[in-house]
């Protein structure tokens, strides 16, 4: 053996009630190395890393840092051992500057030496090429800049072991490339880095080693140079999985939803959607790309009647009808009845569309509770529907009355998407339907979307992963700051072109650099 490992985990076990989240896991990480931690949802990746970050405490096993056994009881202990974690959700104070956020919570007397902090921040920033301005306020920053501040914060505290939990989920392709550049620079500087991600091409592009977990168990570690995406998927899932999205040509696409000059304002009067026009066709998947918060949510909600429309029109042509109806101003219930379904998966998965404390049956009732005469609710039909969805989408739940909050993320999303599809809509809108889902489940959902498209449904798919959008959709509408910056053919466009449209309104062809 060479010198000591930066981190060594020996037989780490963590249980939550009866569930074994981590089952006797061994793992090593060396300095000057990037390790990808790969696994399906609920395989225990985040739990394992949270034990390094001091958020959980292992039930059994030991953690060695630099060859010495340690006990990490709090995030502060973790920092003392040089371990820093960058979480998926940023923990920054909006009205503070970058430097103030970085200094926040540090000990060192009552006095805050802003100048010294700014100098040190600048120094770290220059060393790895972060390019952040210590005096910029967080509310003025883009998502990528905020993430950078989080990384600098961790480095400022002297961390030389960094853990990043799905860092690219919120970034554009260009920003992702920049982040990877930074991570490589840190690796060259001798830091040890763990990155949790679902995106296989990122694993292949960035890491030196890949450790795979499956259902709480450690499956193995492979060198990235000696593996390929297919082999990694097989390790993760435990059996062979096909990674192709079948994309048949649309059959006889007919205009279903015609949107003209749609403009929406939020409560403060800020334009969330600015003169948006497009047509969604039955028998086609229209992808919607854009940086998080570019108006995706508002677009879907305004179509569903849940967001006030300032101006513009939404014309909907029901199947078989030749006259379009105006949806603007109609109550959500009526729009739903007309056949427009929405499956919106918010960041917390449960905030909208599902009731966490109820079982699958109770959640199926959200669509049908008003049906039938009299004051009593009909539980029989929703119960049958719940059983059907459970069967068809292979939802793992002890019973259809088991609270969906306690299901794993993938299963929660299957319940949501399954319910919307079961209503046999003519327009199916889904946002972030595969957010945080493992590969296997994601492909189930993609196939469901394609299945709907072939049935003649107009599918609107808001996605985060550009690779998937390019493979799944027929056309892609790119939103940037509430405006349509382009509608492109998904079969011919390149990722870089979409990436540029995401950051620049009206980014014409001449601006697209080499692919």
């Amino acid at each position: 053996m060479e010198s000591f490992h930066a981190i060594e985990l020996r037989h780490i076990t963590k249980r939550f009630g009866k569930v074994v989240a981590n089952d006797s896991i061994d793992l090593t990480l060396d300095r000057g190395e990037i390790l990808s931690l790969l696994g399906e949802n609920g395989s225990g990746k985040t739990t394992l890393m949270n034990m390094l970050a001091g958020i959980y405490f292992p039930d059994e096993g030991e953690i060695l840092v630099g060859g010495k056994p340690v006990s990490i009881r709090s995030p502060k202990d973790a920092f003392d051992h040089g371990i820093g974690m960058i979480h998926q959700h940023f923990k920054l104070v909006n009205v503070f500057t970058a430097a103030e956020n970085i200094a926040l919570g540090l000990s060192g007397g009552g006095k805050l030496d802003r100048k010294a902090i700014a100098v040190k921040v600048q120094e770290i920033s220059d060393r790895y090429g972060f390019g952040i301005d210590p005096n910029k306020k967080v509310y003025d920053m883009s998502v990528s800049e905020k993430q950078t501040v989080e990384i600098v914060k961790v480095l400022y505290r002297g961390a030389d072991i960094l853990i990043l939990d799905e860092p690219t989920a919120v970034l554009t392709p260009q920003e992702t490339d920049r982040l990877f550049g930074i991570l490589r620079a840190m690796k060259a500087d001798g830091k040890a880095i763990v990155i949790i991600t679902h995106k296989l091409h990122e694993v292949m592009a960035l890491s030196d080693k890949v450790a795979v977990l499956r259902k709480g168990k450690y499956i193995g570690t492979v060198k990235t140079s000696e593996t390929n995406p297919q082999a990694l998927t097989d390790m993760m899932v435990g059996r062979s999985v096909t990674l192709n999205i079948d994309r048949p040509m649309p059959v006889d696409p007919t205009p279903r939803l015609e949107i003209q000059g749609l403009t929406c304002l939020d409560a403060e009067g800020v334009k969330k959607l600015d003169n948006v026009s497009f047509t969604a066709m039955g028998g086609e998947i229209l992808g919607i790309a854009g940086i998080a918060g570019s108006g995706q949510r508002e677009l879907l909600e305004s179509i569903a009647g849940l967001y006030p429309v300032a101006s513009g029109s939404i014309h909907y042509t029901p199947v078989g009808a030749d006259k379009a109806v105006e949806l603007v101003g109609k109550p959500p219930m009526e729009i739903k009845k007309a056949g427009v379904a929405m499956a919106f998966v918010p960041e917390d998965r449960l905030g909208m569309g599902l009731v966490g404390g109820m079982g699958m049956t109770g959640n199926m009732m959200l669509r049908s509770w008003r049906k039938g005469k009299g004051v009593f609710v009909n539980r029989k039909d929703p119960n049958a529907l719940a059983l059907e969805v459970k069967e068809r989408l292979e939802v793992v739940t002890p019973s259809v009355d088991f609270p969906v909050r306690r299901l794993s993320g993938g299963n929660v999303q299957k319940v949501l998407v399954g319910r919307e599809i079961a209503s046999s809509p003519t327009v199916l809108m889904s946002a972030y339907a595969v957010r945080g889902l493992d590969i296997n489940t994601s492909y189930t959902i993609y196939n469901l979307m394609t299945e709907q498209k072939m049935k003649g449904v107009a599918v609107i798919y808001v996605g985060e992963d550009l690779d998937v959008l390019l493979e799944l959709c027929d056309r892609i509408l790119v939103l940037c700051g509430g405006q349509v910056s382009g509608i492109v053919d998904a079969r011919t466009v390149t990722k870089e072109e979409v990436g540029l449209l995401m950051t620049r309104v009206g980014g014409g062809k001449e601006d697209v650099p080499h692919a």
């Binding site: 959500p332 966490g356 404390g357 109820m358 959200l366 509770w369 004051v375 009593f376």
Partner: protein, 360 residues
């Protein structure tokens, strides 16, 4: 292992627990409350066994005692039922006190000024309906502001209590005053008093019927479903096409209405008149009852019964064994503390250093 650095006690959220274990914990917490209470009696220089004996015999020993206890339990149960749908909706109605008073006031109006104009059964019916309407409307005010401008319902409902109690005080010393200078409203005519069944005014039948109805309402009706969804997530409710504001107002009207009926029962059945302390803190104690019963109407029967036994028993204790009046509050406090505290052990488990076994 590095025992010295592992925390002594760690807490972990439980996944689920078998029902028998849950009841074991509840049972032992009840036992703990009895033991703690015994300790208090010992400190006061009383024989704990005799003291508990007095509590039991004082509340359940004789027919008259049982009647008194039931009388105490009736408004507790009724009000707990009333606030259950609000709490299920996560609308913190702590204005039951005021809604009871409003209901009692409206019922009293008819009892005082209409007793000779209507036959007795009809008069009682009118009083009940008036009580329900007044309680409901009193509750509707904060609900309307919540639905329209998203005001804080906790503060709003609380402050509404003081307004209505103030109004009754004014009636007591002013327009409705009986003998001049008495500061009291005269007793109702016998036509306006609830008849007795098995020695207790028939309010107990009314609240038992309401218990069954409330159970059905919460479990099996569309309204009940709407309330449950809003309690979980207003966004989801909106998404499902529910008119959240209207449901909040409707539910509060219902809640206040039941409180109003309780006010009518107390004024007409128990007191035979109206005074500013008609609610007597029931509106607040009922919150404890509702939570302890986990909003299950049938469990509320047991909890309100238990609290009534403690209250009545401690009352007897005070007169018979000459213990201070505050002993009743202390004993009730100990029981509530233990019963609420045991929920912690049901939801979390403790892991002690060095051992990897769970401790219930």
């Amino acid at each position: 292992m590095h025992e010295q650095k592992i925390p002594l006690i760690r807490l972990a959220k439980r996944d689920s627990m078998e029902p028998w274990k849950v009841w074991c914990i509840r049972g032992s917490s009840f036992l703990a409350a009895i033991l703690l209470g015994a300790l208090i009696f010992l400190l006061m220089g009383n024989n704990p066994i005799a003291a508990y004996g007095t509590i039991l015999s004082g509340s359940l020993g004789k027919k008259t005692a049982i009647r008194q206890t039931v009388k105490l339990a009736i408004p507790l149960l009724g009000t707990a039922l009333a606030i259950a749908p609000c709490f299920k909706m996560r609308f913190w109605n702590i204005g039951a006190e005021g809604q009871i008073t409003a209901g009692a006031m409206a019922a009293s109006y008819f009892a005082l000024f209409w007793y000779d104009k209507l036959p007795a059964p009809l008069l009682l019916l009118v009083m009940g309906v008036a009580g329900a309407a007044a309680g409901g409307l009193w509750a509707l005010i904060p609900a309307f502001f919540k639905a329209r401008w998203n005001t804080n319902e906790t503060l709003f409902t609380l402050m509404m209590n003081y307004i209505i109690i103030g109004i009754v005080k004014w009636l007591q010393g002013g327009p409705w005053e009986g003998r001049p200078g008495s500061q009291m409203i005269p007793m109702f005519d016998s036509a306006a008093v609830l008849p007795k069944i098995f020695g207790v005014h028939c309010g107990w039948i009314i609240v038992l019927v309401m218990t069954v109805l409330m159970y059905i309402y919460m479990r099996h009706t569309k309204h009940g479903y709407e309330i449950a969804v809003i309690g979980e997530s207003e966004n989801t409710a909106r998404y499902a096409g529910m008119n959240v504001g209207r449901i909040i107002m409707r539910t509060m009207f219902l809640s206040g209405g039941i409180c109003g009926v309780v006010g009518f029962i107390v004024a007409s059945g128990a007191n035979g008149t109206l005074y500013d302390g008609v609610a007597a803190g029931v509106g607040f104690t009922a919150i404890t009852v509702a939570w302890l019963a986990q909003l299950n109407p049938f469990a509320m029967i047991g909890i309100s019964g238990l609290l009534a036994v403690l209250e009545k028993g401690a009352d007897t204790l005070q007169t018979r064994m000459a213990v201070p009046a505050s002993i009743s509050d202390i004993i009730t406090g100990i029981f509530l503390f233990c019963m609420l505290g045991c929920e912690f052990f049901i939801n979390y488990r403790m892991i002690f250093r060095g051992k990897h076994k769970e401790v219930a």
